[in-house]
């Protein structure tokens, strides 16, 4: 990789790491896993950086890689049952349960993976349906139906949890 391409990658990584981690967190619901997914995504991007930058903007490609990393990880849940680095964090992770989003985030975790991906990209990341379709490698119609089903599932989960708290 040439020096200019390397510099371009570093700039992209510094500018987009937080946004990618936010998307990763919304998908997986775990900050540690979200960071691992983003690092894996960036390392994978580095390998193909010269090629993908020639094709145009890389944001959607990065999301696509992130999504694949997460789906791969989701298929191997036993890998994430414990922290294997043996390092205790200096400060406790901020709890996502604080504030108005807590129940919403917990409910999101119960939406099936593909519907969740459509909901996160379409609504949380506020991407147009065409871009989500590009990331999910499907048609815009499929994105709309998956997102709608995802919202339905989410609403159902929220209603159930509201009923449980009322009891």
């Amino acid at each position: 990789m040439r020096a200019a391409e390397d510099a371009g990658f570093r700039e992209f990584a510094a500018a987009r790491a937080l946004a990618l981690r936010r998307t990763a967190y919304l998908l997986c619901g775990d900050w540690h896993l979200a960071e691992d997914l983003v690092q894996l995504t960036l390392i994978k991007l580095y390998r193909v950086w010269p090629k993908i930058t020639r094709r145009g903007p890389v944001d959607n490609y990065a999301r696509q890689v992130l999504l694949r990393c997460w789906l791969d990880e989701a298929r191997r849940p036993w890998r994430r049952r414990e922290r294997r680095d043996g390092v205790v964090p200096d400060q406790p992770s901020p709890s996502p349960e604080t504030g108005i989003s807590g129940p919403l985030l917990r409910a999101l975790a119960e939406v099936p993976p593909k519907q969740r991906a459509a909901v996160v990209l379409r609504y949380c990341a506020d991407l147009p349906a065409a871009e989500v379709a590009q990331v999910l490698r499907c048609s815009e119609g499929t994105v709309r139906s998956q997102a709608a089903r995802g919202l339905e599932t989410l609403r159902g989960v929220l209603e159930q949890s509201a009923e449980r708290s009322a009891w």
Binding site: R10, A14, R22, H32, Y46, R47, S101, V119, C124, L154
Partner: protein, 217 residues
């Protein structure tokens, strides 16, 4: 639905600071790419070196095809018929095959009505390493009292050895004559006598030196 979509757009996350340095990550990624490229180059060099250094005969050693095995059996039948005039009830059966190698068991009744048998193994050059070199034969003189090396026209050597074992009184009992043909191209033919009627040296030589009993390279 709209309300839920709006809540998702406005989702409020208490985000912790990024736990890794993006520059350090880029350095790590660059090291991985360099290491990967070096591994690919090394693998290509090793593969190329293997192709150039290994002799042709060691590169590919395929099990003889069924058609090839059938051809060898037919050639053996003709050779036996020529070497033992009046032979009857000749039965040839496969006795195993492997890379560049096949064996056949032959059972027959000679013109005098005596049953006999032997086993023939044909090896291509690719299986030459499985055979004791010609120089290693005729050295155990107590078990092999009769062993001759016969240079063949066009190169190669035929070794005929007669095995014996000693009975309880220490008297040698002949077991049979074995033939080992080493061709100049590295291919071999081995004929080992069975427990019944043995081929004579002349008959064995006629069978084992038949040029049709050869596997392709």
């Amino acid at each position: 639905m709209t309300d839920l979509a709006t809540r998702l757009r406005d989702v409020d996350l208490a985000e912790p600071p990024l736990g890794f340095d993006t520059d350090e990550l880029a350095d790590r990624a660059a090291r991985r790419v360099r290491r990967r490229s070096a591994t690919v180059v090394l693998a290509a060099v090793v593969a190329l070196a293997a192709l150039l250094v290994l002799p042709v005969r060691e590169r590919v050693a395929l099990v003889p095809s069924l058609a090839e095995q059938s051809r060898i059996r037919s050639a053996l039948a003709e050779a036996v018929t020529r070497a033992l005039p009046g032979v009857r009830d000749l039965a040839l059966s496969p006795a195993g095959a492997g890379p560049a190698r096949m064996s056949v068991t032959a059972e027959f009744v000679d013109a005098g009505g005596r049953p006999g048998d032997f086993r023939l193994t044909v090896r291509g050059a690719g299986a030459a390493q499985e055979v004791v070199p010609a120089g290693g034969l005729c050295t155990w003189t107590d078990q092999v009292p009769h062993c001759v090396r016969l240079p063949q026209p066009g190169g190669g050597v035929l070794v005929l050895s007669e095995l014996v074992y000693k009975d309880v009184d220490g008297n040698p009992v002949p077991v049979g004559i074995n033939g080992f043909l080493y061709r100049p191209d590295g291919s071999t033919v081995i004929l080992t006598g069975g427990l019944r009627l043995q081929l004579t040296e002349e008959q064995l030589t006629k069978v084992i030196t038949d040029p049709a009993l050869a596997l392709p390279q």
